[in-house]
Amino acid sequence: MTGGADEGVYFITGKDFTNAGAASSSLKKLLEDRGVPADIVRRFSIAAFEAEMNAIIYAVAGMMRYSITRDMVKVTLQDMGPGIPDISLAMTEGYSTAPDYIREMGFGSGMGLPNIKKNVDHMTITSVVGEGTTLEFDIALSPSP
């Protein structure tokens, strides 16, 4: 793998389904260009895309910060959304508050947060109802032993 530390931020606009996934797509390319193994890139990209879609579906806006070092990629997605009243309930597979038009797009089936957790090494969610949600996750960039 090549490349030193790299960090940046993507701004996400709520309900902007035209560009939904653009940030995760760019991050995927960044990791590929650094020579990160394909299976790790895929795990990361899926987690980032699920997180990005959540912000687009539920929030007015969000900031997706990333930092990539030789050993780890970390993402912090802070959104201005409704907040999650019960995080353990939101982590339950199949639990969703998404409206029908989101489901018609193929999302909002209540698999997003559990799928992020499945793909990353560490994940934390903090949320304040009426203010927003902050999701952080990281993945080691070297193959697991």
């Binding site: 939904a20 996934g21 995760s24 895309f49 797009m105 193929g106 999302f107 089936s109 209540g110 799928n115």
Partner: protein, 118 residues
Amino acid sequence: MTLEDIQTILNAAVLARRADLGVSIDRAYCADLMSDVLAFSVTNSLLITGLTNAQVIRTAEIADIRAIVFVQSKRPDMETIALAEGRKIPLLATQLSMFDTCGKLYANGLRSQSVDPA
């Protein structure tokens, strides 16, 4: 099998220009739920779906899907096709139903090898 074999089996139209039909496909996943594609599909497989929006292309790109077949004569709009072309994801469209599409491909040897959800 190759994507060209799949095109023949399904009597499918090729939607994206510059599509490489020689690409080898040995696994497939079928869903209208993109959440399921992200959770359960395997890398480098064929996605069979009835959804035609841009999120399908994004999901395919993120999940390393090799190509997409749209069933039941459904076709994405030009912007979505252009997005797929930019991501080098070949698009096919068949008149067959999702059931018949999966059945024909299975009968010709294609398998899912889905990731164990457990």
